[in-house]
Symmetry: C2
Subunit: 206 residues, 2 copies
DNA sequence: TGGCATACTGAATGCAATTACAGTATTTCA
DNA sequence: TGAAATACTGTAATTGCATTCAGTATGCCA
């Protein structure tokens, strides 16, 4: 891919910024105003060259149709926004997204499943899941309402706190197991509220 | 937040789809055409109500300025696209993004650091890092060119393969340690090419 | 040093798009 | 059951925006 001139790079950067901030691409006139150009043709010409070099796409005659082409673009997938709850209240996480404490945005390709409105995330506290290599501070993405398969990690409501356990069956009966030798828990799953099935773990370096 | 009527929801969904697919929001005429409306005012009126209920924003007189308001929006951050390399060649991962095998998109808030063009991701093979709870199949995000602090996990080039090790210093001398009792490696770091410092781990449920 | 690409000014054309106004069914619900 | 909100048709005015044509100045490089 050929490289851009300084001016062209500036313009491309400006389009990217505007795109991210305003939510839609700027018009030629807006770009011209930003750079102090008194002629639209200045912008028009720059865009033509940037487009020619493959860094930008646009549909002719379409307002605000500038789209930035990144070399990663062909891999790029839809990004899902998943609400992060600090701690889950006794009820279920319904449509109550207003209570979200934050938001994780991840592309659905990495996510490896299609998120629903019942997908949510929690920060892990405690070390009950070290056996499954999930540690304190990890962010876990869970799917509420999914039916767990044996071996899946689930979040269950125990004593008003949501806790991660491994879901297992023995003699056809489901039960939950803590993955830490210090906590040899073994709880009948039927009596518990399973809040979600684990789908993704994210760990930030500290 | 009040709820939308069926029709309003359909229109909002359509705007979202178009937005994601085409890269910019549809015009009133385009929406009308899609739904078979013969009058623009039908769309105009719907948009007015959806906007009034707080699910949509737009600037007056601005073409294609429709923006969807999500309850998660205020948490939403910029999303970074990180190239995923299958395996790193002997050289350094420079600007050679064309060789990327895939792409992970994560918001910079979750990333916890500002990605650079030298940020990249790898899929973990082998079990040399189980001690640090990083297992086979995990996706690790690394920063090339960053200087590791003692205790950081780094990717180093050993025998033409990039391998994860813990970076440590003893008597002022840096060395690398494998976090697996089966591999009691202890290599002098100076002789090795450190390809990146670990910043994030992503594990997909299987 | 002449030619070519870049970096602009200026004006004009015309479709693209939003907005406004005037109505008519249909649904909802107090 | 009757008024208000929803869900449309149709026409027109007006501005938003992209595109095109005709030039000028400047830096680069072979």
């Amino acid at each position: 891919m050929p490289s851009l001139t300084r001016r062209q790079q500036q313009i491309l950067d400006h389009i990217r910024r505007e795109q991210e901030q305003a939510g839609n691409a700027p018009t030629l006139a807006e770009i011209a105003r930003h750079f102090g150009f008194r002629s639209l043709n200045a912008v028009s010409e720059h865009l033509r060259l940037i487009r020619q070099k493959g860094f930008l796409e646009a549909s002719t005659g379409r307002a605000r149709s500038l789209r930035i082409v990144s070399p990663l673009q062909r891999f790029r997938q839809r990004v899902a926004d998943i609400p992060v709850f600090g701690s889950i209240p006794a009820g279920l996480p319904q449509e109550r997204t207003q209570e979200a404490k934050g938001c994780v945005s991840i592309d659905i390709g990495t996510l490896n499943f299609k998120p629903t409105p019942r997908t949510f995330a929690l920060e892990v506290r405690g070390d009950s899941m070290v056996g499954k290599h999930i540690i304190e501070g990890d962010l876990v993405v869970l799917e509420h309402g999914a039916t767990p398969k044996p071996g899946d990690v689930v979040a269950a409501l125990i004593d008003g706190e949501s806790t991660l356990k491994t879901f297992l069956t023995r003699n056809g009966k489901p039960y939950l197991k803590a993955e830490n030798p210090n906590y040899p828990d073994l709880l009948p799953a039927q009596e518990l509220v399973i809040q979600g099935v684990l789908r993704l773990v994210v760990r930030r370096a500290r």
